[in-house]
C-alpha cells in the first residue's frame, strides 16, 4: 500500500484501517477464517448474530444454491451472549482490528440487555443491531419493517451502551429513507445496508420447498444491484455512514457501493466460496486509488455523478 494513501474510515467512534469488513453470518465468529488468513488485515470483523440465550437454529435444509446466489434460513443458531463471551471473545479481544458484534432479540428489552452485557465487556468495536433477519418468526424483521418499533429498538440500545451502534436495515420496505432517518434520529451511528432479501425455491419433483424453513434470505451477486440502490437512496436521507453489502465479489463491486454512498463495505456470501475475497477487495481498492490518483478512500464515498437526481426526491 502506498504510504501517502489513506484507506482508513470511521463509523462514529469506530475506526477502521480500511473500508472492508465482513457481513454477519458469513464469517462465523472470525476464528474459523483465522485458519486461512490473518484477520488483522481487515477493516473490522463482524460476527454472527447473538441474542441472550442459545439458539438451536432452523431445521434443514438450511441453505440452497440458486443462480448467482444462495438462499439461507439458518435461524440464527448461536451460543447466546454468555456462550459467545466464553467461547469466542477470548480470541476476538486479542485481534488488533475491531470486532463488531451483531445482536438481536425477541423484544426491545432483550436487545437492550444484550447491548448492556456487551458494553460491560470492554473492547468491543461496535454493535450491529439486526432488525432484519427474515428467518426468525419471533424477532428480528418485525423491528426493521415498522418505523416506530425500529426507533424504539435503536433508542433502547442507545440508552444501554455508549458503543457505536450500527443498524442493519431490512430491504423489505417500500422506501428505505424513513427507516434510515428513524435509525439515525434514534441514535444509530451507522447503517448496514442490506440484509438478505426474502425469497424461496421449490423442488418440482418432490413439490417441496428447498429450505426447511420454506422461505429464506437471498444473498450473493444476484442481489448486488438491489443493495446498491438501497445504499444510494439511504445515503441521500442520512448523514451517518453506511456499510454497504450485498453480493460484493471484487474491488469493483465494493467501489460501486462506495460511489453510491457507502463509507465502508462488507463481504458476505463470497466468504463461503472464496475466503480471501475481503483481502483481494482491500488490495483492489488500493490499486484503483493509485490508478485514479485518489489519496483518500473517503473521496470515493458518494462520488456517483448523476445528472438528474430526481431519484433522490422523497
Amino acid at each position: 500500500m502506498d504510504a501517502k494513501m489513506n484507506l482508513s474510515v470511521a463509523i462514529g467512534k469506530l475506526k477502521m484501517q480500511n473500508p472492508v469488513t465482513v457481513a454477519s453470518g458469513t464469517f462465523g465468529y472470525g476464528v474459523e477464517y483465522a485458519q486461512l488468513f490473518d484477520l488483522n488485515q481487515l477493516g473490522a470483523v463482524v460476527v454472527k448474530g447473538i441474542r441472550l440465550q442459545p439458539v438451536a437454529g432452523n431445521r434443514k435444509p438450511r441453505t440452497v444454491e440458486v443462480s448467482s446466489g444462495m438462499l439461507n434460513a439458518i435461524g440464527l443458531q448461536g451460543p447466546g451472549v454468555e456462550g459467545f463471551i466464553r467461547k469466542y471473545w477470548p480470541f476476538l479481544k486479542e485481534l488488533k482490528v475491531p470486532t463488531i458484534i451483531n445482536i438481536w432479540g425477541a423484544s426491545i428489552e432483550e436487545y437492550a440487555e444484550v447491548a448492556r452485557r456487551l458494553d460491560g465487556l470492554g473492547g468491543v468495536g461496535a454493535l450491529e443491531l439486526n432488525v432484519s433477519c427474515p428467518n426468525i418468526k419471533e424477532g428480528g424483521a418485525q423491528f426493521g419493517t415498522d418505523v416506530t418499533l425500529l426507533s424504539r429498538v435503536v433508542a433502547a440500545c442507545r440508552k444501554a451502551t455508549t458503543l457505536p451502534l450500527i443498524t442493519k436495515m431490512s430491504p423489505n420496505v417500500p422506501s428505505i429513507k424513513p427507516y434510515a432517518r428513524a435509525a439515525e434520529e434514534s441514535g444509530s451511528d451507522g447503517l448496514s445496508i442490506t440484509n438478505s432479501i426474502p425469497a424461496m425455491a421449490i423442488d418440482i419433483e418432490t413439490r417441496r420447498p428447498r429450505l426447511g424453513n420454506v422461505t429464506g434470505g437471498l444473498t450473493g451477486p444476484c442481489i448486488k444491484p438491489i443493495a446498491l440502490k438501497l445504499v444510494w437512496e439511504a445515503a441521500s436521507a442520512v448523514k451517518i455512514p453506511i456499510i454497504g453489502m450485498g453480493g460484493i465479489q471484487n474491488a469493483a463491486d465494493a467501489i460501486e457501493f462506495m460511489m453510491a454512498g457507502a463509507t465502508a463495505v462488507a463481504i458476505g456470501t463470497a466468504n463461503f466460496y472464496e475466503p480471501q475475497t475481503a483481502l483481494q477487495v482491500i488490495a483492489g481498492i488500493g490499486d484503483f486509488m493509485r490508478r485514479q490518483g485518489i489519496r483518500d478512500a473517503r473521496e470515493i464515498v458518494g462520488a456517483l455523478r448523476v445528472e438528474d437526481s430526481s431519484g433522490h426526491q422523497d
Binding site: L36, R62, G220
Partner: protein, 260 residues
C-alpha cells in the same frame, strides 16, 4: 486447513459415472487424515458459486485423489477438466475416523457407493486388517474393491440387483458377520444417510461402537455458515453440530436420529 491452487495430474473415468481425480497439492496431501475431505472450487460453474466437498480417497506423496460420481452440474464440469487444469482447494477439512491402534479393535467398514473412497485411508492406516462391506444398486456402483483387496482386506459385496455379490442391501452381510461375533469389533461407515441410519441401528442392537461419516449438504466447509449441521446429543440434551468441523465423522451413539 490450507487454501491452495492445485494442478490436475489425472482426471479419468473409472467406470460408468465414476471418475478419479488426482491433484498435486503439496501443502494439503501430507496433512490428510482418514475420513477428511477437500472443498473444491470448480471453474466455469457460474452462475453456481459454491465449492463442492469431496472425501479424500488416496494420498501419495504430494498428491491426493478423490473418487467422484457425476451427479450434477458441478461434478459434470469437473469431469470435463483436463490434465494441468487448476482448481482452488481448501483442505484437509473436518475430523476424520479414529484409526485403530495396534492391539485395538478389529475394524468392520461399511460403505455405500462412493462412500468406499472415504474409507480407503482408514483401511490403509489401521493397525488391524478387517472386513469391508460394500453395497450399491448394481455392479457399477461397487468401487475400488481391488484396492481394498490389495491392502489384504476381505471385501464382501452386496448389490440391490444382484449383479455382484449378495443380492440385497449392504446391511445383510454385515448382520451375518455380527451374528457370528461382536467382541473387539468396531464399525466405520460412509454412505447415504439411510444406510448410516441403518448402521447406527445395528450398532446399537449389537452394542458395538461405530463411527459414521455423515453425508450432509455443505456450503462454506470451514464452520462459518452452519448449513451442514446434524443433531448431536449433549449432556444437557442435544445441539446442532457442524458436519464440516465437528464431523464429518461422529460417534454413532451421539447422533439424535429422531431430529435428523
Amino acid at each position: 486447513m490450507v487454501e491452495q491452487t492445485v494442478r490436475i495430474i489425472s482426471n479419468e473415468r473409472d467406470a460408468d459415472l465414476y471418475f478419479r481425480l488426482v491433484v498435486e497439492a503439496s501443502r494439503i496431501a501430507p496433512l490428510v487424515q482418514p475420513g477428511q475431505f477437500a472443498h473444491l472450487r470448480i471453474p466455469g460453474l457460474q452462475p453456481a458459486l459454491l465449492r463442492r466437498p469431496f472425501s479424500i480417497f488416496q494420498v501419495q506423496g504430494d498428491t491426493f485423489s478423490v473418487l467422484y460420481k457425476t451427479v450434477g452440474k458441478g461434478t459434470e464440469a469437473l469431469s470435463r477438466m483436463g490434465v494441468a487444469g487448476e482448481l482452488s482447494v481448501i483442505g484437509p477439512l473436518g475430523r476424520g475416523f479414529t484409526v485403530p491402534r495396534p492391539g485395538g479393535e478389529t475394524p468392520l467398514l461399511v460403505a455405500g457407493g462412493y462412500g468406499m473412497a472415504a474409507l480407503y485411508l482408514l483401511a490403509q492406516r489401521s493397525a488391524q486388517k478387517g472386513i469391508v462391506f460394500v453395497g450399491g444398486r448394481r455392479r457399477a456402483d461397487i468401487l475400488c474393491e481391488a484396492e481394498f483387496r490389495a491392502l489384504g482386506w476381505e471385501v464382501r459385496v452386496a448389490t440391490e440387483d444382484g449383479g455382484a455379490g449378495e443380492k440385497g442391501l449392504v446391511t445383510q452381510p454385515l448382520l451375518a458377520a455380527l451374528r457370528k461375533g461382536t467382541s473387539g469389533r468396531k464399525l466405520f461407515a460412509c454412505g447415504p444417510t439411510p444406510m448410516l441410519r441403518a448402521v447406527a441401528g445395528i450398532a446399537a442392537e449389537f452394542e458395538v461402537p461405530a463411527e459414521l461419516s455423515m453425508d450432509e449438504q455443505m456450503c462454506c466447509g470451514i464452520g462459518a455458515c452452519l448449513t451442514c449441521v446434524v443433531p448431536i446429543k449433549t449432556d444437557s440434551g442435544w445441539e446442532y453440530q457442524r458436519t464440516c468441523t465437528e464431523g464429518p465423522v461422529f460417534e454413532s451413539s451421539r447422533v439424535l436420529w429422531e431430529k435428523a
